[in-house]
Amino acid sequence: MSSTPAAEVARYTLPAQLLHWLIALLIFGLFPLGLYMHGLPLSVRKIELYSWHKWFGITVLLLVVLRIGWRLTHRPPPLPGDIPPWQQATAALMHELLYLLMLCIPLSGWALSSAAGVHVVWWGVWKLPNLLPANPAMAHLLELVHATLNYTLVALVAVHMAAALKHQFIDHDGVLLRMLPRLLPRSLPRQRR
């Protein structure tokens, strides 16, 4: 089986890459922020952190919608030919689950805020409509939903990252390079199998 030099690996488009890493970065910040802010007693700090969390959360929602729109209109680069079909299928399923979670999590947060009777005002300027009426029982339920979806996302992201690193540094099939701009690395020595 032939190996593709790193410089010739078929890669995702630049917008796909930018959205991928930007969303990843924001999620990496939002998750610990959510965990931390939730435990705070009512204070100025808590109000500020909740606001930032919601503002960046809605931003992620928009970026994810853009990412999905781009994905639907731009076919990803083909996987290296020597990846077994079961791994290709698993990867496809993994990515679909990630998209689903990245949509549902900010939506559940928005719904949670609505059920708690607190409008989401994006960046303190754009007041978003409440997704549902204020309802303490629903708010409690949505808190569990938001938390559960988040923990599921963390687990899947861990697998997603581990798989990318496995393919790159154990299989040496250049899969991770597909999501990196062509500049780096210039070339990656590939072990002969």
Binding site: P41, L42, S43, V44, R45, I47, E48, S51, G117, V118, H119, V120, V121, W123, G124, V125, K127
Partner: protein
């Protein structure tokens, strides 16, 4: 009775009922009793998000005589500890020392000193507003309209919370909780 006179009787009764319904209610000489439907509510903004609340314990001493404004007097008070902004945590914070300090000053109140007419059913009412040990003169526009034999009195005003020390310590930061607090007073008053 003859059929004709029954018809006349019914027709007359119907007309009287219609006339009664159409007739303007006669304003009472004096309204002295505030009904439990009266409410005092407020809205604030925290980081762009509108928040609302009200006070559960409202008392009012009313002596409102539309025909004798010089003798009219209105006093509205709320128990500061009865604040309800939607959650137990928030209520405890608002009743606490940084905000209403209900333990130190249990009542938030407005006491009128002067009524000035401002069009049909509308008045400018001057008085003193007191909260958290601070008192300031306040002039509010009150609009009234009859509700059966009762009278509805509505007033709305905006106060600067920093003038009253509402929100001290870290809460003084008006970029988190805005300085302007809108207050709505809705009194339903009845004649004795």
């Amino acid at each position: 009775m003859s059929p004709l006179s029954i018809k006349t009787l019914c027709g007359g009764a119907l007309l009287s009922i219609c006339a009664a319904a159409w007739a303007q209610p006669v304003p009472a000489a004096a309204y002295t009793h505030a009904l439990p439907e009266s409410s005092v509510s407020f809205s604030a903004t925290q980081m762009g998000v509108p928040m609302k609340g009200h006070f559960k314990a409202v008392t009012a001493q009313i002596d409102f005589m539309p025909g004798d404004l010089a003798k009219s007097h209105v006093e509205v008070a709320v128990q500061s500890a009865s604040v309800d902004a939607g959650s137990a945590q928030t209520n405890a914070l608002l009743a606490g020392a940084d905000w209403l300090a209900a333990k130190a000053d249990p009542q938030t109140r407005f006491v009128s000193s002067q009524f000035t007419p401002d069009g049909p059913g509308r008045y400018w009412v001057s008085g003193t507003f007191s909260v958290k040990g601070h008192s300031q003169p306040l002039r509010v526009q009150v609009s009234t309209h009859p509700d059966g034999k009762d009278l509805i009195m509505d007033a709305a005003f905006t106060l600067d919370r920093t003038a009253f020390g509402l929100g001290t310590g870290s809460w003084a930061d008006t970029s988190v909780v805005a300085a302007a607090i809108a207050v709505q007073v809705h009194l339903v008053v009845s004649p004795q």
